[in-house]
Symmetry: C2
Subunit: 249 residues, 2 copies
DNA sequence: CGGTGGCGTTCCACTCAGCGGTACGCTCTT
DNA sequence: AAGAGCGTACCGCTGAGTGGAACGCCACCG
C-alpha cells in the first residue's frame, strides 16, 4: 500500500484511516495509522478541512457532512437505493424484522440499507459497512449468482471463521451455493454472529443472468423462523428486479 | 472559487462537478465545468479512478461506490441516521406518507433520509440533497430554532421563489418562524413544489436550546391533511430527541 | 468521399506546490 | 522539575504536478 506518493493518495489514506467505529481521531493517531510525516499529515488534514471533507473538533478530526453528501451522489448505488426503499419498507412492515439490501463489491458484501425497528437485532452489519461473503445470507446469494470465476476466487481463498458455525469448508459452501442457485434463496444460521438467522434472495436482471443486489430478512434465534419469510423475501427481490428492468433498459 | 491551485482542490472540483442529476459525465464535460486543463483533468480523474472514488465507463466517469461507502462513515450523520431510522419507520408506518429527516448545513437543509412507499409523492427532495430553508417545513423548523444570527442571515438574503406560494416576504416568514417556535411545528403549503403539503417538528437537545435535526411528513394536496399528523410528527421528534440525549451525554 | 470538429489520450520540459526534518509551546502525568 | 505527547509553525530542497501541444479516433456533414 504505497499510494502515498501523491497528495491524493495521502488525502485518501487519511480519510480511510477512519474505521467504521472511529468517530473522531486526533492528529497523532492519523500519523500513526497512515505513516505520514507529522507536518504532512497536519497540512493535508488542514486542506481536507478546508474542502469540507473533514471537521476539526477540539479532540481531533472527524469525517464531515460534506463527505456524506458527496457519497450520496454516487449514481448507481443511489438510484438502486431509491428504487429499492419502498420494497424494503413493505418487507419490513410485513415482517417487522431487520431488513438488508446489499451489493457485491470485490469479494465482499457492502450493505446499502439496513432498516429495522427499535428492538432491532444487534447485528454486526451497518449501512455502508462490509462483510465477508461466505458467512452471510446476502453474501451467499450474491456469490451464487456471481459466476464460476468468483466462486473459485472465494472458495480457494481463506474463509474466515466468525463464529463456531461459520462454514469454512469449501465443499460444504459450494453445495450451499448450488442449492441457493436452485431454490433462489440462501440461509445463514449464526454464521456471522451468534444468535442471528437470515434469509436472502437475489435481485436479478430480467434475463436472469446477472445479480444486481440481494435482499434479506434477519432475526434472532428463538422467535425467528427464517423459512417462514422465504416467500416474502423472494417476492420483494423479484419485484425490485422487474422495477429496475422497467427503469433501466 | 479558485481553490484549484492544489491537487486536492482540482480533485474535489471534479467530484463536485457531478450535480445531483448527473450520473455519468464525459471528460470533456468535466473540463468544461471545472475549467481545468484537459491534460490535468485527465490525469486527476485517472488518479481518482485508481483510488476508487470514480468509475470509468464507456461513456465517461461516474461517482463510484467507494465514495458512497466512505460517505457513510461520516460519524455524526451516520449515528444520527441510525438512531433516527426506527422512529422514521414508525412514523411512516403510522401515516403511510413520505417521511423526511433533515439537518441544517450552512443556510440550507440537507436531507439525511427520505422514506416513503410506492405511491410516493414526487417531491423535489432526495436523500443527500439540499433545499433552501425558507420554503420547506423542515427548513422553517430548523431555522426557527437556529438563533437570531441565522434568522438575520436568511431573512436579509434573497429568498428564492420556487412556486407561486413560496413565502418571500421577510416579515411573513419571520411571523411563521415565531409561531413555529411557539407551537413546536412548522407547515409548508405548496411552497417548494406545487401540490405538496408538509408538517415538520424539531429534534431538540434535552435542554431545549439547540436543534439537532427535524422530522417531517409530506403528502399531496387533496387527501393529505397536514394538521392531522402534527401530533405524530411531534411525538417522533421528541422521542428521537430523548434517545439522542441518552446516548450522547 | 475528404474535410471538420469534438473527443480521449500521450508526451515533455519547466516550476512551484508539496515535502519532511527541525524546532517551539502547550498540557498533562510522573 | 523533568519528561512525554501533543498540535503548530518554519523553511530550503526537489520531484510531482503542470498545461500546452500534438496525435489518433470516430461521427457528422457538405
Amino acid at each position: 500500500m504505497e499510494d502515498s506518493n501523491t497528495v491524493l493518495g495521502k488525502a485518501l489514506a487519511i480519510l480511510r484511516a477512519f474505521g467504521p467505529a472511529d468517530s473522531v481521531l486526533p492528529l497523532a493517531e492519523l500519523v500513526r495509522r497512515t505513516g505520514l510525516a507529522k507536518g504532512t499529515a497536519h497540512r493535508v488534514a488542514g486542506a481536507l478541512v478546508h474542502h469540507r471533507l473533514l471537521d476539526k473538533t477540539e479532540h481531533g478530526y472527524r469525517l464531515s457532512g460534506g463527505l456524506f453528501e458527496l457519497g450520496l451522489r454516487a449514481a448507481t448505488e443511489r438510484t438502486l437505493l431509491e428504487l429499492a426503499m419502498p420494497f424494503l419498507q413493505d418487507l419490513y412492515e410485513r415482517t417487522h424484522e431487520t431488513v438488508h439490501l446489499g451489493v457485491r463489491e470485490g469479494h465482499e458484501v457492502v450493505y446499502l440499507a439496513k432498516i429495522g425497528g427499535h428492538r432491532q437485532t444487534r447485528a454486526p452489519s451497518r449501512t455502508g459497512g462490509r462483510m465477508p461473503m461466505h458467512c452471510t445470507a446476502i453474501g451467499k446469494v450474491l456469490l451464487a449468482h456471481a459466476g464460476e470465476d468468483e466462486w473459485a476466487a472465494v472458495l480457494t481463498g481463506p474463509l474466515e471463521r466468525r463464529t463456531p458455525r461459520t462454514v469454512i469448508a469449501p465443499g460444504l459452501l459450494r453445495r450451499q451455493l448450488d442449492t441457493a442457485l436452485e431454490t433462489g434463496v440462501a440461509y445463514e444460521h449464526e454464521e456471522s454472529a451468534p444468535g442471528l438467522l437470515c434469509v436472502a434472495a437475489p435481485v436479478l436482471r430480467p434475463d436472469g443472468s446477472t445479480v444486481v443486489a440481494a435482499i434479506s430478512v434477519m432475526g434472532p434465534v428463538g422467535r425467528f423462523r427464517p423459512e417462514s419469510h422465504e416467500t416474502a423475501v423472494r417476492a420483494a427481490a423479484t419485484a425490485l428486479g422487474s422495477t429496475l428492468a422497467r427503469r433501466r433498459p
